[in-house]
């Protein structure tokens, strides 16, 4: 025993281990979230059954509290805070996305409050898992290493699998959870195989070194192409791009609606953050592999998502396919991300699209939640005559649908404008062809968004029940936030394009 201890002493003395410098200010959002998760867990333990709603309030405050250090970091300086040998980086790009994830989390808490309280679900655990998932996303935006990207991905996915299956005794919710889980784990296993090949080729897991070494031999070999494609497939699943989208409609329909909103916005955005980080930091030399791959899945997502959305009768399934098609539009600029001047405008287009898409899609789900509290139905026809008895919700849904369709002056048009501008700037056949396909799809998409508007404004109320809808305060707050964001980003696009202006991105990534 003593010998063992003294041996340990010599090992420790001989090792040249120095503790890594930890920048607590830069890590403050993560620390606040982690402390908040513990707090919610303890509060849930000690308050009585009737007062469990406190957990929802606390979760909301934790998310808003975590936004404060993000803002102070953004205000204090534009210098890049790099930790752990450049494997965890807090720069402007990650700060913008951290703020997005935290605010999306807050809106989802607002949407959940009444739904979860009245549904008789386990409340404390629900918010613990929601906060854990948000923490994983916040980590994802700073991760610059294969290991931390993998850990962040699982951190955000595992709680999401459980949340999708949250209604324990409902067969649909079980099915939603199992489908999401099996396909999610399968995709991350394939991604890991790609990562192991990447590590084998380059001998490092740090993205910046990986990006420098991936073509050290001067030409691309089969193993490298396979590795890049496998890694991208893992995230294509996360963003529900065709042909990795099969889980999305079923999971969205079966999961509790606030979780559907969360998955369709935050989880998708986290997948895009990882895709962007990998494409810009690790694979800049691999553009001959990733550009055609992204081109194909982007075109497939837009087209297949749209065509299937056209024939949906359930509003949540329609929004699921619309989300697949929107993912195609967000992927569009990445298909030319390596071509000359369009690198920067592609990145800006993706970030801006993610912010605006979050606002308008969350808003649409907020209206769906508010309306289904009365109609108890998920059919598009249940929106019939909404304007006659709930004019506020009718107008808001029209705004969100018009924004998703990309009609000016709402946020959605600016997002699409940025995406088209980026692909046209590439100035080659790939860019022009995807722009044409995208334009055709934008027109097709308008059709199913207008179907919803027609129900709201022109159709009679299906069951003649015109008692007004009583929207809870929390959902009203969520509607105000998302509607304000959707309109403001459309009228004053400079507000959001400034955040996408990441000229020092390559510097920010430490290259």
């Amino acid at each position: 025993m003593i010998a063992a201890v003294s041996h340990l002493g010599t090992v420790l003395a001989a090792g040249d281990f120095t503790s890594p410098r930890v920048d607590y200010h830069a890590l403050a959002p993560e620390i606040v979230l982690a402390a908040g998760i513990c707090a919610v867990l303890l509060i849930d333990l000690f308050v009585g059954e009737g007062r469990r709603w406190i957990t929802s309030t606390v979760a909301g405050f934790v998310l808003l509290g975590a936004v404060i250090p993000v803002f102070t970091l953004g205000v204090i300086g534009s210098d890049i805070r790099s930790m752990f040998d450049g494997r965890y980086v807090v720069d402007q790009f990650s700060l913008v996305l951290k703020a997005l994830f935290l605010l999306v989390g807050y809106v989802v808490v607002l949407l959940s409050t009444n739904e979860i309280e009245e549904g008789g679900y386990y409340q404390g655990e629900y918010y613990v898992l929601l906060l854990s998932s948000v923490l994983g996303m916040v980590m994802m935006s700073s991760a610059r290493d294969l290991v931390s990207i993998f850990v962040a991905l699982e951190f955000l996915s595992i709680p999401a699998y459980m949340l999708a299956a949250w209604r324990k005794r409902d067969a649909k919710s079980n099915e939603a959870g199992v489908k999401y889980y099996l396909l999610g784990v399968f995709a991350s296993a394939i991604m890991l195989y790609g990562m192991s090949l990447l590590y084998g080729i380059t001998g490092t897991t740090k993205l910046t070194e990986l990006g420098a070494k991936i073509t050290a031999t001067g030409h691309f070999r089969g193993a490298e192409a396979l590795a890049v494609v496998f890694v991208l497939v893992g995230f294509a699943f996360k963003v529900s791009a065709v042909p990795f989208h099969t889980w999305a409609p079923d999971t969205y329909e079966g999961a509790p609606t606030p979780i559907t909103a969360f998955l369709s916005v935050a989880s998708k955005a986290a997948g895009f953050v990882a895709l962007v980080t990998l494409i810009y930091v690790a694979f800049p030399q691999a553009k001959d592999v990733y550009q055609p791959f992204v081109w194909v899945i982007s075109v497939a997502s837009m087209t297949v998502g749209n065509l299937l959305a056209l024939r949906q009768t359930n509003i949540v399934r329609m929004l699921a396919y619309s989300g697949i098609s929107q993912a195609g539009f967000i992927l569009m600029p990445l298909a030319v991300a390596g071509t000359g001047d369009s690198a920067e405008s592609s990145l800006r287009a993706v970030v801006v699209y993610l912010i605006i898409y979050a606002a308008m899609n969350l808003g649409a789900f907020a209206v769906v939640i508010a309306v289904s509290r009365k109609t108890r139905s998920g059919e598009i026809t249940s929106f019939g005559g909404l304007f006659s008895y709930a004019p506020g919700l009718g107008v808001l849904m029209t705004i969100f649908m018009a924004s998703l369709a990309g009609i000016p002056p709402l946020g959605g048009w600016f997002a699409k404008f940025g995406a088209f501008k980026a692909v046209l700037e590439a100035g080659n056949g790939w860019g022009y062809s995807i722009a044409i396909i995208g334009a055709v799809n934008a027109v097709i998409a308008t059709a199913y968004y207008i179907t919803v508007m027609r129900e709201i404004w022109m159709k009679p109320v299906p069951d003649g029940d015109i008692t007004p809808i009583r929207t809870p305060g929390a959902v009203q707050a969520a509607l105000v936030i998302t509607a304000a964001a959707t309109i403001v980003f459309g009228v004053l696009p400079g507000l959001v394009s400034r955040y996408g202006n990441l000229t020092d991105l390559t510097g920010a990534f430490g290259r």
Binding site: Y161, M162, A171, K172, L192, Y193, M195, S196, G203, L308
Partner: protein
Amino acid sequence: MLVNNFLLLGAVLFCIGVYGVIARKNAVMVLMSIELILNSVNLNLLAFNQLWAKDNPGHVDGNTFALYIIAIAAAEVGVGLAMVLLIFRNRKSISLDELSEMKG
């Protein structure tokens, strides 16, 4: 000993795992197939770590990565088995073919 042998074994395990996920209809068998893929990844990482540590004895990146995968795979399978239990309680079956409540 050549590192190729381990990589070949890893590739074979990976293919068996992918085949299992696609072909099996039993939820537990699918979970086991996913475990096979994850283990092929671990095998790859450890083999590559040996390769890169030859010139640089302090190199443990691959070994560390494998440890993370083992830990997280355990958490993942925990959740997966809980879900399989859930569908078994509600349906008295864990066949994935019968999970077709929603269509379209």
